[in-house]
């Protein structure tokens, strides 16, 4: 039958083998590439101000709120700062990364690397390096500036630092592969932003990141509890707030095993989705697709030719 014809490279028998395990040379190329991308980011005022604005907003909010978390002696500002810290990680994985992927796919970066031996693995290595440095840098800046300027919270003792480390790591593992999967399927940069920002904002409001979750209706809490942001924020609160503040948590405790479980589950789901979707996105790239997208973009007048 004619219907069984392979009409699309997406249903290829998979012999193109584009993204494979990085070899030593593509690790090296990837790290070099990540370093250069990082330098470009630091030199780009527009993107840098995007990251810095988040930090400034968080500091202003923390300075402005003077109440305590109900039923505790912990300042509300500390809870909000822990929530913002979680949101920054969340945003890097689920907004910045997909946007970067969609934009670079549209410009032809992905196609060029696909045409280069070892290019796709190097690209992934570079992106991971970039994300980790940006995430750690933003987090350090937020917590450091908050501690200096608005008497913000810092981990007390080795246990808290360890919690901060593993929650950050697992949090990134939960959102980065998921963000990569989203970036692989989103149509183009113009629609991408609208498609991700709204749900993300919704989660920020309902996850108890910036105000106590107990003040929200229970069904809303239950929906938010499915997503990683609530658990990232909760884990960071456990690292940053005094232990007594756990009375304000919905469960009356930090639920760290649950934090680890939910974030690990999202990491697994993310990887399971991201690997085939990225593979497919890379395999689908070709000159004619790129040209077609550029024609479409030029037609809508949003990208200068």
């Amino acid at each position: 039958m004619k219907g069984t014809h392979v009409t699309n490279e997406a249903d290829a028998t998979g012999r193109t083998r584009t993204p494979r395990r990085p070899t030593r040379s593509s690790w090296r190329a990837g790290l070099l590439r990540g370093g250069i991308e990082l330098r470009h980011l630091l030199r780009n005022p527009k993107e840098m101000s995007g990251h810095l604005t988040n930090v400034v907003v968080a500091l202003l909010v923390a300075a402005y709120i003077s109440d305590d978390v109900p039923g505790t002696q912990t300042p509300m500002g500390h809870l909000a700062l822990a929530g913002f810290a979680a949101y920054l990680l969340f945003q890097i994985g689920l907004i910045n990364l997909p946007q970067m992927l969609v934009t670079e796919r549209e410009e032809g970066v992905l196609l060029r690397l696909r045409a280069t031996p070892g290019g796709i693995p190097a690209y992934l290595v570079a992106k991971c390096l970039l994300l980790v440095v940006v995430a750690v840098g933003t987090l350090a800046l937020l917590l450091g500036a908050a501690a200096l300027l608005v008497d913000g919270p810092l981990p007390r003792g080795g246990g808290d630092w360890l919690t901060l480390l593993w929650v950050t790591t697992l949090g990134l593992l939960a959102v980065v592969p998921l963000g990569a999967a989203i970036g692989a399927v989103l149509p183009n940069p113009r629609e991408a932003l609208a498609l991700i920002v709204l749900p993300t904002m919704g989660l920020l409001m309902t996850s108890g990141a910036v105000f106590p979750i107990t003040s929200l209706p229970v069904p809303v809490q239950q929906v938010a509890a499915v997503f990683p942001l609530k658990w990232m924020a909760q884990g960071l609160r456990s690292a940053l707030l005094p232990d007594a503040a756990r009375t304000a948590e919905p469960a009356g405790s930090w639920e760290l095993p649950m934090v680890a479980l939910v974030l690990a589950a999202w990491a697994v789901v993310g990887f399971l989705l991201a690997v085939p979707l990225l593979r497919r996105a890379a395999r689908r790239e070709s000159g004619s697709r790129l040209a077609a997208r550029h024609r479409k973009a030029a037609g809508s007048g949003s990208v200068p030719a």
């Binding site: 193109t16 032809g108 696909r114 280069t116 290019g119 070709s286 004619s288 790129l290």
Partner: protein
């Protein structure tokens, strides 16, 4: 370089290459042979299947049927070592806009086992003065020359140029042609060029294949094609009833002699033309258009 380099003269070998999208046949059994060191032009109007053909050869698209070898391997199963032996220049690349020219070239050199020296490449492509310029500030012609530099940084044996001069002004086009010639003549790179511009194909190519509606309609050196095109002359004259007539023939003098004899004197409006390659090409393209319209066209074409 690599032991995998074959001594075979054929760099690209395709037999019965067919591509079907759904029920639409885009390529109807194409045969191609591209030899080491030559510039080969795939000439055809837009929509003829040039890009599809090239993307199959590049390993970016799965063919529906046919046998294809590029540098001795099936492009669908091309691995990294194979990828490193081909270079691509596409018309749609506008990537890495924030990078600086020299930085980008030096970075892509790290992916290949035996790359060219980036500084030498800048000189070869005439971009030495732009080395520190940001890529998205380059003019169209320079951007494309940077794409060529990136395409050849890994010393490819085969370079694909997909409509490389689209949108160029004449000056940029001339400079680009000089660069491509230098690559082939001095560096021994085999070049597969797609273009819809016959003049460009004649100027650059050792051999031209005319691809119209998914079929190779003619293939040969520019002079062979021109000779073949001129082989059948067109004779025009005015018939007794005053209507203009024309006929294509391999033996125009015989036809003229017969007309002269029949008219028993001078032939009114007599004209004998040897068609150029361009006439033939346009004829092929328009013939396909007419066929597609299901319309024979106003003027009668005598065989």
């Amino acid at each position: 370089m690599t032991p995998a380099v074959s001594t075979d003269r054929s760099v690209v070998h395709a037999r019965g290459l067919t591509m079907t999208y759904g029920d639409v046949d885009v390529l109807h059994g194409i045969d191609l042979d591209i030899h080491r060191g030559e510039i080969f032009a795939l000439l055809g109007p837009n929509g003829a299947g040039k890009t599809t053909t090239v993307e199959i050869l590049e390993g970016f698209r799965q063919r529906s049927a046919g046998e294809v070898r590029v540098l001795g391997a099936d492009p669908q199963r091309g691995d990294d070592a194979w990828r490193g032996r081909i270079g691509l220049v596409l018309q749609s690349w506008r990537d890495h806009g924030r990078w600086r020219v020299a930085e980008l070239l030096a970075h892509f050199a790290t992916y290949y086992p035996d790359p060219r020296d980036p500084a030498e490449l800048l000189a070869l492509t005439g971009l030495t003065d732009q080395a520190d310029q940001q890529v998205d500030r380059l003019s169209g012609g320079r951007r494309r020359r940077l794409d060529v530099a990136l395409g050849i940084v890994g010393r490819p044996e085969l370079l694909f140029l997909d409509e490389p001069t689209t949108g160029f002004d004449p000056e940029a086009r001339r400079e680009f042609h000089v660069l491509v010639e230098r690559l082939a003549r001095d560096e021994g790179v085999t070049v597969l060029l797609t273009t819809h511009d016959l003049a460009e194909a004649e100027r650059l190519a050792d051999r031209i294949a005319m691809l119209v509606s998914g079929r190779i309609r003619a293939c040969g050196t520019p002079s062979e094609l021109a000779r073949r095109a001129a082989a059948r002359a067109e004779v025009r004259w005015t018939a007794d009833d005053g209507t203009p007539r024309r006929e294509r023939t391999g033996d125009p003098s015989r036809l003229v002699w017969e007309l002269h004899r029949d008219a028993d004197g001078p032939i009114p409006g007599l004209e004998v033309r040897r068609p150029t390659l361009e006439d033939t090409y346009l004829h092929m393209v328009h013939q396909e258009d007419d066929d597609a319209d299901g319309d024979v066209g106003g003027e009668a074409r005598t065989a």
